[in-house]
Subunit: 397 residues, 2 copies
């Protein structure tokens, strides 16, 4: 057999659990009809982008010189686009950034790969993620040449279990990846948790004598459903925060790959970190983020898709499942429900659910066994039609 | 100072020579007016995409459900898009590929990073590039964890100097990067060169006892100007070829980042290589290529921008410079002229040219000193207005 990059081959041959379920769903749909498959596997937004997104595409096509519209932008992005992001963040969070603090990324995955590569100075470097977490964090961290360390989940409230965090930290810890609202639990870190986290990180910095970066992965920042839910903006809380943002979910344009890295103006060595971000992006082959959609995102940075639909879905699914006897944390944000697997074995339950054409992702790859992730960014009718299947399943336990 | 990825920091602090000149041009334009700056530095297409590109964008916006249009595609690309690429290649080059041989990339840079990572099994692996070459090859190869080796240029004809190639090859050689039509020389490898190259590679394989891959970087495949110029299609010539294609120049959409990797159906271990491509792409953060433009490229795979404009530019610039006494190879393809620096020192000449607001990239970073790269993907009027400056400069030698 050919001598290939073994890690890449293993990754390529082992598609994620989520993708596998998704492909299975397509296969079942061909057999029993799409309407009889209840696919809760993928975080692919089901609601349309704000009208302005599509209006702007047409407007740019009609008004801009095409060679310019589709031409290269500079690596960190079109200046006007970076300025728009900076103004948005300054206005919303009282910051003093300029365009020079913003690098427009080809989606949050690119942003994460770039910042992890930027901050990895040595193969002994470690990054900590709090379980449950998006499984690609492990892939991206290891690809950056660092070690991925898991802090066990707080299964009571899906906040942070600080004893577990203490165990996960070592003098090699370079950073922590925080994702709130969280994929897969839907939980949002409360102000008291954030306060404790910041105190913990400051203590660790003192103990180790080097900075510990907080990478805030924010694809779900705008996806909260209750007025009282406050999503922390980490650069205002902690002096070593870097923001990795995405427009994929807020604007329902995940296929277009647009996000940004915000390297705060007041972080120590801000200009050097930004320069290393540019270098890391270049080495990863990210020439520039897609040009036309950069301009669209800039004009739509304040908008979101109609989140009422997700709120309705959440309420319907959460209330129905809890009524049937399922147990799960109340999701304050993102579009996932994290349900305790009846019987305790998530893989077994997921297999059983497939018999009902119900596609639920077992939580094992999220670093926290015994749960099922349900992505409710689906049509409400599908949720309604799926409920009898959920009902039948839990009766067996 | 913060402990960062040193290579990334160095890369980020040292923008490419090309970028530096481009930024200088912007600065001069603000001072003396855009019309008085003759910028030959960047390979950013100046002619518009085929009309169909922009018509299709509008049509897709008007006919497709927006959530679907902008949603995730599968990692290797939308199936219909991969099918279109396969059909295009089968029809044009008599291949028997299927969609499963095509991975839609976020531009050729992504494709190169992905395939170099795929084929790098060990840190001792080496990839050879024939000078002069696109400088990012070095960055991408080293980022993939392999060693970058330069085979000296054939300065007579800008074909391949086989004694130099012999010197560059070692038992660690995993592959060779070929780029024809070539950036920066504009030369196209002749059939006799291709034949000699294939014989050379087959001999080396026998000698070393392992495959040697030929990575064909093809952003300029369609950019040839004379009926008799034949661009080789390497999978038909050599059994270990992999194609890295881009629509950036053929469709004038470099900012949109669309290309593909073609892993031929008849290459040894084709399915494994493809799986490793998927894994490498995932580890680099390439979730999918921009969704809407994937669909546009699929429908436009047979089209090109109006290349007559580049042909006219080439003829005007080449003929004028040669008449003045400049010396350069006749460029059969791409949109670059590779001019011998009068006086022999390219950096010195480039500096001097800046005094005339003439921006020419010195060739040092292309692995071949003493030349200037002139990108003629510019407005013809600019070439016309720049000629007196070229004239004044050569008179000084």
């Amino acid at each position: 057999m050919a001598d290939l990059n073994e890690k890449a081959l293993a990754l390529g041959k082992q598609p994620s659990e989520i993708r596998k379920l998704f492909e299975y769903g397509n296969q079942r749909a061909a057999e029993v009809g799409r309407e009889n498959v209840f696919d809760f596997s993928l975080g692919n937004p089901s609601i349309d982008p704000p009208k302005k997104v599509d209006e702007l595409v047409i407007q740019l096509e009609q008004t801009m010189e095409p060679a310019k519209l589709h031409g290269y932008t500079s690596g960190p992005g079109e200046k006007s686009v970076r300025e728009a992001m900076s103004e948005n963040v300054n206005r919303r969070f009282g910051r003093n950034s300029t365009f020079q603090n913003f690098y427009i990324t080809t989606g949050a995955a690119a942003g994460l790969c770039i910042i992890l590569s930027t901050l990895t100075a040595d193969p002994s470097d470690e990054f900590v993620a709090v379980a449950p977490f998006f499984p690609e964090y492990k892939v991206f961290t290891e690809a950056a040449g660092a070690k991925f360390v898991i802090a066990e989940a707080d299964e009571k409230e899906f906040q942070i279990q600080f004893e577990a965090l203490e165990k996960a930290f070592t003098p090699h810890t370079r950073g922590i990846i925080i994702n709130t609202p969280n994929n897969p639990s839907g939980s949002v870190l409360r102000p008291d948790t954030v306060e404790k986290l910041v105190a913990f990180l400051r203590n660790k910095m003192k103990e180790y004598g080097h900075p510990i970066y907080l990478i805030s992965d924010e694809p779900y920042r705008e996806l909260v459903y209750d007025a009282e839910t406050r999503v922390p903006f980490f650069p205002n809380e902690y002096e070593y925060s870097i923001v990795c943002y995405s427009f994929s979910k807020s604007l329902s344009i995940p296929g277009e790959r647009i996000g940004y890295l915000y390297v705060p103006e007041d972080i120590e060595d801000s200009a050097d970190i930004f320069a290393a971000v540019c270098g890391a992006a270049r080495a990863l082959g990210y020439v520039c983020a897609p040009a036309m959609l950069q301009r669209v995102a800039a004009e739509c940075a304040d908008l979101t898709s109609d989140l009422n639909q997700y709120r309705e879905n959440r309420d319907l699914l959460y209330n129905s499942l809890v009524r049937m006897g399922y147990s799960c944390i109340h999701p304050d944000g993102a579009f996932y429900l994290f349900v305790k697997a009846p019987g305790g074995n998530a893989r077994a339950f997921s297999e059983r659910a497939k018999g009902e054409n119900l596609l639920l992702v077992p939580s094992d790859s999220f670093g926290c066994k015994g749960y099922l992730r349900l992505a409710y960014c689906v049509k409400k009718e599908m949720i309604e039609r799926s409920l009898p299947a959920f009902e039948r399943l839990i009766r067996e336990y």
